[in-house]
Amino acid sequence: MHKKGQSEDIFNDLIPAVILIIATIVIITINGANEQKNVSGMSESDLSSLRRIDLITYMRMPVKDYGSFSELIIGLSAGEDKSIALVDSVDPYKCGDELSSVLRRNIGKSYEQWSLRVFNRVSGEIFFECFSDDDFFTEAYRLSSVDYQELLFGSNMNLDFEQAYFSPLGMQYVNVTLPSSNPNQDMFVKMGVMSNE
């Protein structure tokens, strides 16, 4: 009997301490869960900032015989032979194998599906375009029932179409402006990447 009574006294005495310990654990758990949720709640505009920084990095990446990828692009606008050699011999608007390989090696490290287009900011004329996966994009154009060649030569229509078609699929776009051989006609480099990557 004496031992039983003593045990009840111990629990009664411990109640304030137990309440404080439990309250502390609850506060830590709730705040920890909130922080975890907030970190993963990065907004789309923040992710877009990271993609834009990626695009600048790609512009600075070295390409064979050039200082950088951006140098190659501005060379294309000036009609330089060296730059043209990197464009597909059949379709002058597509990346050549060598350039594709460089881009896939670099952009492919971060993004599985991507597109890269360079076009005149004023007229919308395309200088060239590269894709992570030609089949994926060509198939998307085919499924859209829009004539690819018409889109390609339809200037701005092509660009609007791509964004309108791919954005609902999760493709997000960022761009950067570069000068061309004509100081009054800048070039736009537009990169699309799948947002879930």
Binding site: D9, I10, D13, L14, P16, A17, L20, I21, A23, T24, I27, I28, N31, E35, N38, V39, G41, M42, D46, S49, L50, R52, I53, I56, M59, R60, G67, S70, E71, I74, G75, A78, E80, V176, T177, L178, P179, S180, S181, P183, N184, D186
Partner: protein
């Protein structure tokens, strides 16, 4: 139960409880920058300003390369071409940068353009300033050790 042990236990529990309350009530105000909805948000705001400055520097670097390619491989011709690009750059970014703001140094096969002028990127919480200096490879140009300026 031993009264002393109980007192120490309650004081310790109370101490932990107060410490954790104080920690979470002050953790937001101790972070640099404005209040943020999640950890790392303020860094992203700073990244935005950095990106804008980097994209402007990329434009200037590219404009310098194009100006040199279009020139007749003299410094004067380079400057005339560059000024056209700087006019366009100023229109794009609402600034007043011109070739007169630069000192040009020809050294080691490069033209280095140095200015004391600063460009500013204003965002909601941060002001980012940078000097739009650049250099362009100009191996064909005779070396001039002295500074050449249009000012």
């Amino acid at each position: 139960m031993n009264k002393k042990a109980l007192a120490i236990l309650i004081i310790s529990s109370l101490g932990f409880f107060i410490a954790i309350l104080l920690f979470y009530s002050h953790v937001g105000s101790r972070q640099p920058g404005p209040d943020s909805p999640y950890l790392g948000h303020n860094a992203m705001l700073a990244f935005n300003a950095y990106y804008e400055a980097e994209s402007q520097l990329l434009y200037l670097d590219s404009a310098a390369i194009m100006s040199w390619k279009k020139s007749d491989k003299t410094l004067d011709s380079f400057k005339i071409n560059l000024n056209e690009y700087l006019t366009n750059f100023s229109k794009l970014h609402h600034t007043d940068l011109s070739v007169n703001d630069y000192d040009f140094i020809v050294k080691d096969g490069y033209i280095k353009a140095i200015t004391s002028k600063e460009l500013t990127i204003n965002s909601k919480f941060y002001t980012y300033t940078f000097k739009p200096n650049f250099k362009v490879k100009a191996a064909e140009l005779p070396v001039q050790e002295e500074t050449v300026s249009l000012i």
